[in-house]
C-alpha cells in the first residue's frame, strides 16, 4: 500500500499569539512549532499501522519552508519512510491542496490521509480540496479505518452518533480523534530519521484564492463571579441582564 500523509506545522499551544503588518500576519517571533496534532497523532500513526500490517510505504508531504524540516524529521522519527517538502509557504487552503494534488497525481497513492483540521486555522478544507482536484472519494472526520483489499471501511463522526461508510481505494480521508493512538518516537526512530530521504521539490505555479485582511484575538476572559447557591434570583438576573445568554 502506498500511503501519503499530509503533515502541517502548528504553533505549540503555549505560544503567545500576536500579529504584525496591521494585523494581517501571524507574528512568528519566538513561536515554537509542533506537528499539527491531528496529522501526527491520528493520520500519521494510522498510516504507519496500516503499513506495518499490510506492507507498503508511508510518505509525508508538507507545503512549507526549510523552517518546517524539524517537524518533518519528527514524522520520520515516528515511522514514516520518506518525506517530501514542497518548498513554499502555505499561502491558503487551495494553494496548499493544489500543491499537494500536483505532486500526488502521478504518484499513485492508495490512501491520502490528512488531519481533520490544523489547530491554528481550523480550516478543514485541504483534504476535501485534494480529493476534488484528484477526483477521488473523500471521507471526513474518520475515527476508525480498516482496509481489506481495495475496500476501506470507515467509521466517521456524525452528529450525536457514528456513521459507517465503505469506499474503494484510492481515497482521501481526514482523521479525527480516535483513529489511532499517539506514538512517542523512540531513540531508534530518531536515529533512523537522520538518513531517511527528505526530498525538497519546487512548488507548482498556483495562485491562492483568498487573502487574509485581518486577524483579531478573542476578547479577554473576564473575571469569574461566584454566586451563592441560595441566591438563584441573582444568578438568573445576571445571566439575563449581564451575560445576556438567557
Amino acid at each position: 500500500m502506498k500511503i501519503l500523509v499530509c503533515i502541517s506545522k502548528a504553533p505549540d499551544t503555549t505560544a503567545k499569539i500576536n500579529f504584525t503588518d496591521g494585523n494581517t500576519k501571524f507574528d512568528e517571533a519566538g513561536v515554537q512549532y509542533i506537528v499539527n496534532p491531528y496529522d501526527e497523532w491520528y493520520a500519521l500513526v494510522r498510516g504507519i499501522e496500516l503499513k506495518e500490517a499490510n506492507g507498503g510505504t508511508v510518505t509525508t508531504v508538507t507545503v512549507g519552508t526549510a523552517a518546517d524540516d524539524p517537524i518533518i524529521r519528527k514524522a520520520l522519527a515516528i515511522g514514516a519512510d520518506n518525506a517530501v517538502r514542497i518548498d513554499s509557504e502555505a499561502k491558503d487552503a487551495f494553494f496548499t491542496a493544489k500543491q499537494i494534488a500536483e505532486y500526488a497525481k502521478s504518484e499513485g497513492f492508495d490512501l491520502i490521509l490528512t488531519g481533520k483540521e490544523t489547530i491554528n486555522y481550523n480550516g478543514s478544507q485541504v483534504g476535501a480540496m485534494i480529493a476534488e482536484l484528484l477526483d477521488l472519494p473523500y471521507v471526513s472526520l474518520a475515527t476508525d479505518l480498516q482496509i481489506a483489499g481495495s475496500t476501506a471501511t470507515i467509521k466517521r463522526e456524525a452528529k450525536g452518533g457514528k456513521e459507517t461508510v465503505q469506499v474503494s481505494t484510492p481515497l482521501v480521508l481526514s482523521a479525527s480523534k480516535g483513529l489511532a493512538e499517539q506514538r512517542i518516537p523512540n531513540m531508534r526512530g530518531i536515529m533512523a530519521a537522520r538518513t531517511k530521504p527528505l526530498n525538497v521539490v519546487s512548488p507548482a505555479d498556483v495562485t491562492p484564492l483568498t487573502e487574509t485582511v485581518e486577524y483579531s484575538l478573542p476578547p479577554e476572559k473576564g473575571g469569574v463571579k461566584l454566586i451563592d447557591p441560595e441566591n438563584m434570583d441573582e444568578l438568573v438576573s445576571l445571566l439575563h441582564n449581564e451575560a445576556k445568554v438567557i
Binding site: 524540516d69 524539524p70 524529521r73 519528527k74 499517539q182 512517542i184 523512540n186 531513540m187 530518531i190
Partner: protein, 392 residues
C-alpha cells in the same frame, strides 16, 4: 497527582544553540515522561518503590547509555543529548534520573571504556535495552567520601578471583542483574569486577527507611567468598582514577538533571503565583514573590549557560574533573535553594503531594550528598585552583 502542566523555560534562548535533533530528543523524553511516568511517580515515591514497568520505555527514549556507540546497542549520541535526557528525567524525579545515570555512566561507561571487546559485546546491548539492570559498588560502610580507603578485596585463586567485602548505599542494588564492583587486589590496587546475580555468596539486601530518593531502590552489595570468573575483571584501567572516571560522567549528567528539577519548581511556582489570589491580587504581583521568581530564573539561566558550555567541552573531550565538580556542586545547590523558595510560594499546598516540590526537595538531599558531597566538590575546586590538597 494532577495533570503534568510542565513547560520548559529558556530565558536566554539557549534552544538556538541546540540542533533540531537535540530538541527532538529532549521533547521526546518530556512527552514520554508526561504520558508514562508523571501519572504514577507520586504513588511509587510514597510506596518507596522503583516503577520497574517503565524500564523498556526508559530504554526506548535513550535513557540507558545514549552516548554508547550503536555497535554496542547505544544510540551514539553526543554529550549534550545525554545531558538533555538527564534534565528531562530529573525534572520528573531524581530517582528516575539516578537509575538512568547509574546504568549509563557507572555501569555501561566502565564496561565500554575499561572492558575488553567480549565484555562490551556481552553486557552493553542488554544494558542498553534494559534487559539487564546494573549497579555500581564503590561506597562502603566506612568509606564514603574517601573511597580510596576501601576494604573490599579479591584474591587470585588461579582459575578465578575470590571476592570479599560489602558495599553500601548502592542504587539499583536490590534488583540489579550485574554490578560493577570496585575492589583491591592483593597489592592494594583498585580494579573493577563485573559481578552477576546468582553468583554464590553474592546478596543485595535493600536499604529501608529512606526519606529521600524513594522512587529509586538502594541497597547493599555483600560478597561472602564470591568466586568471580577471571574474564569478569575490567582489564583496561585500574587505580582510583578508574571509578572516578565513571563519576565524572555521572556528575556531568547530574549537573543537567539539577537544572531539570529547578525548572520544574520554578515552572510550578510561576504558575501558582499567577493563579493564587490574596489581598485581592495574584501573589505574583507582590514584590517579595517577584524577587523569588526573578532570582530563580536568573540562577537557572546561569546554570544553563555553565552547563551547556561544559557539554561543549565534554563533546570535545576537554572537560576536566574539576570543571565537572563545579557544575555538579553549583547546580544541585541552586536547585535545592529554588525548591525551598518554590515551596514557600505554594504556601500550604506546597507541602502536599499535589505538587512535586517537596519530593524534589527531599530527593535533592541525596543528590547533594552522592557522587561527591557538596563539601568534597568545593575541596576539589580548592585543590584545583591552589594546588594544595585540603582533603586530609
Amino acid at each position: 497527582m494532577k495533570t503534568d502542566l510542565y513547560q520548559g523555560h529558556d530565558y536566554y534562548l539557549m534552544d538556538e544553540l541546540l540542533s533540531d535533533e537535540h530538541k527532538l530528543i529532549r521533547d521526546t523524553a518530556r512527552a514520554w515522561i508526561k504520558k508514562e511516568v508523571s501519572p504514577i511517580i507520586e504513588d511509587y515515591y510514597e510506596r518507596a518503590e522503583f516503577p520497574k514497568q517503565i524500564v523498556p520505555g526508559l530504554a526506548s527514549i535513550g535513557g540507558f547509555g545514549p552516548y554508547i556507540p550503536q555497535e554496542y546497542g547505544g544510540a551514539g549520541l553526543d554529550q549534550i543529548s545525554y545531558g538533555l535526557i538527564m534534565q528531562e528525567l530529573e525534572r520528573c524525579d531524581s530517582g528516575l534520573r539516578s537509575t538512568s545515570s547509574v546504568q549509563s555512566s557507572l555501569v555501561m561507561y566502565p564496561i565500554w571504556k575499561y572492558g575488553n571487546e567480549e565484555q562490551r559485546k556481552k553486557y552493553l546491548p542488554k544494558l542498553a535495552s534494559g534487559e539487564f539492570i546494573g549497579s555500581f559498588g564503590l561506597t562502603e560502610p566506612d568509606h564514603g567520601s574517601n573511597p580510596g580507603g576501601m576494604v573490599t578485596n579479591f584474591k587470585d585463586m588461579g582459575d578465578h578471583y575470590l571476592l570479599n567485602g560489602a558495599k553500601m548505599w548502592i542504587s539499583n542494588a536490590p534488583f540489579c542483574d550485574v554490578a560493577v564492583v570496585w575492589a583491591k587486589n592483593e597489592e592494594g590496587r583498585i580494579w573493577g569486577l563485573v559481578v552477576e546475580r546468582g553468583m554464590e555468596g553474592f546478596t543485595t539486601p535493600e536499604t529501608h527507611g529512606k526519606l529521600s530518593l524513594r522512587a529509586s531502590a538502594t541497597g547493599e552489595l555483600v560478597f561472602d567468598n564470591v568466586k568471580v570468573p577471571k574474564e569478569n575483571l575490567l582489564p583496561n584501567k585500574s587505580g582510583l582514577g578508574a571509578p572516578l572516571g565513571c563519576l565524572d560522567s555521572a556528575r556531568y549528567g547530574i549537573a543537567w538533571g539539577a537544572i531539570g528539577v529547578a525548572l520544574d519548581c520554578y515552572d510550578s511556582a510561576l504558575r501558582y503565583a499567577k493563579e493564587r489570589t490574596q489581598f485581592g491580587k495574584p501573589i505574583a504581583a507582590f514584590q517579595l514573590q517577584q524577587k523569588k521568581l526573578a532570582e530563580m530564573i536568573t540562577e537557572i539561566t546561569k546554570a544553563q549557560l555553565l552547563t551547556f558550555r561544559l557539554g561543549q567541552l565534554k563533546n570535545e573531550g576537554r572537560a576536566t574533573s574539576a570543571q565537572i565538580s563545579m557544575a555538579k556542586r553549583n547546580n544541585v545547590d541552586m536547585a535545592l535553594k529554588i525548591a525551598r523558595e518554590a515551596r514557600q510560594i505554594h504556601g500550604a499546598m506546597g507541602i502536599t503531594n499535589e505538587y512535586s516540590i517537596m519530593r524534589h526537595m527531599a530527593n535533592l538531599e541525596s543528590v547533594i550528598t552522592y557522587e561527591g558531597t557538596h563539601d568534597i566538590h568545593l575541596l576539589i575546586t580548592g585543590f584545583d585552583i591552589t594546588g594544595v590538597n585540603a582533603f586530609k
